[in-house]
């Protein structure tokens, strides 16, 4: 490969790669590794430092450093995979730098996603938790399948529209808590608690907290702690949402019961 790639261009592309990777939920060590890999393939000694909130890219022995601000995002693992494939192709020389730049811009803009029905079906499948098999009744698990759909829809539809963080998770919890409590009050469900725990499975940040401990063990302490605190607050807002939802259903049924 020739030396025609300018330093600025390379740093800009590397910053973009790192940003997409971080917001799509890759681990910090993978982000740093991928960026430095691309740099080495372009014959520059790039060094990259990634934390979960910011990303620094620079060339060693130079004064220039590029700073990219990042905000915590949701999982979008397909983007991580595409970037990974592209960087591997670039390193082995299958594509040149201009093409890499173009594809990365495309990946950044493109909305790579499963269709809504597929995602909703996925969330419904997750809502039947193996943890509760033979502990909850089969009818309750069947109900959780549908309650989970509504909870996931509430969280997923509200998150692009509401800018305040954590409200979307709270709304999901609210929906699940309300529906489960209503079902129990109507006598359809036997145990609202089991339905709630099961139907919340797509929303709770369990994977995030496990990944945060993996990062801490990997000595990426800052990123790990940020992820863990974020997960804790998401769980807190879900918990508060469920308490509010169940409380609201209690009030409604109290009023109806008093009126009858």
């Amino acid at each position: 490969m020739d030396q025609s790639i300018s330093e600025d261009e390379l740093i800009a592309v590397c910053g973009r790669v790192g940003k997409i990777l971080l917001t799509s939920g890759a681990e910090t060590s993978r982000v740093e590794g991928t960026v430095e890999y691309i740099g080495r393939a372009a014959h520059y000694d790039i060094s990259c430092h990634a934390t979960i909130t910011a990303l620094f890219v620079g060339v060693k022995n130079q004064t220039k450093t590029h700073l990219v601000k990042v905000r915590l995002g949701d999982f979008n693992l397909e983007k991580v995979d595409e970037i990974n494939t592209m960087s591997r192709k670039f390193v082995t020389g299958q594509i040149d730098f201009d093409e890499l730049k173009r594809t990365i811009e495309q990946i950044d803009k493109k909305v790579i996603d499963f269709t809504w029905p597929e995602k909703v079906f996925g969330a419904a499948l997750v809502s039947v938790a193996p943890m509760l098999l033979f502990k909850a009744t089969w009818a309750d698990l069947g109900l959780a399948f549908f309650v989970g759909i509504f909870g996931y829809l509430a969280a997923a539809l509200s998150s692009p529209r509401i800018k305040t963080p954590y409200v979307a998770a709270g709304l999901g919890g609210f929906t699940v808590g309300f529906l489960a409590a209503v079902l129990q009050s109507l006598g359809i469900a036997t145990n609202a608690g089991n339905i709630i725990v099961s139907a919340l499975m797509p929303l709770v940040p369990g994977v995030a907290i496990t990944n945060s401990f993996r990062e801490i063990i990997d000595r990426n302490t800052i990123s790990g702690v940020v992820r863990a605190v974020d997960a804790l607050i998401i769980a807190g807002s879900i918990g508060a949402g469920v308490v509010l939802g169940a409380g609201l259903s209690g009030i409604i049924f109290h009023i109806i019961g008093g009126g009858l």
Binding site: G25, A26, E27, R30, F75, N76, L77, E78, K79, V80, D81, E82, N84, I112, D113, F114, E118, K119, F121, G122, A123, A124, L125, V126, S127, V128, A129, P130, M131, L133, F134, Y152, G173, V197, L200, M201, P202, V204, P205, G206, V207, I209, T210, N211, S212, F213, R214, I216, I217, A231, L232, A235, G236, I238, G239, A240, V242, V243
Partner: protein, 152 residues
């Protein structure tokens, strides 16, 4: 029979979470298999040892080894397998229960749930580390067999 049901439900769970987190399509099947086998391992160990650490640790080792092997075989980053297969094991439900007790002002139970969630998360994370150490021993053998297959 029970094990079979557990296997099917956890497979569905894993594939479902794969759809939610948007993994590439080619990693859905290996992730599903990894997730369900790890859950069965968890379930079987749970019959012998009724604690939190050993079952989760075993499951994490299963995910770690199978996940790394399928990452090499299907050419996907290993996180694409880890994230969906973890969904039935992770302490998400317990974390929620803990924060709900916190909202309701129940200190004792909050502490208990949070402690359990922490234990599970650390058991899983340490399991991954151990699995990766084991995998680095297996990797050369795996690569050699894959090369042989390509030649044939």
């Amino acid at each position: 029979m029970k094990v079979l049901i557990e296997l099917i439900v956890s497979f569905a769970s894993t594939v479902g979470f794969g759809l939610v987190t948007n993994v590439p399509r080619r990693s859905l099947l290996p992730a599903g298999i990894t997730g369900s086998l790890a859950w069965v391992a968890y379930y079987l160990v749970l019959q012998v040892d009724n604690g939190l650490i050993l079952p989760n640790f075993t499951a994490a080792i299963v995910i770690g080894i199978l996940g790394n092997i399928s990452a090499v075989m299907f050419r996907v980053p290993v996180n694409m397998i880890y994230v969906p297969s973890l969904v039935s094991l992770v302490p998400g439900g317990i974390l929620y229960l803990g924060m709900r007790s916190f909202t309701l002002g129940n200190e004792m139970r909050t502490g208990q749930y949070m402690f359990n969630a922490l234990t599970i998360a650390i058991a899983l994370a340490v399991g991954f580390v151990v699995a990766e150490v084991i995998f680095y021993r297996i990797k050369p053998i795996l690569l050699r067999t894959l090369d042989k297959q390509k030649e044939n």
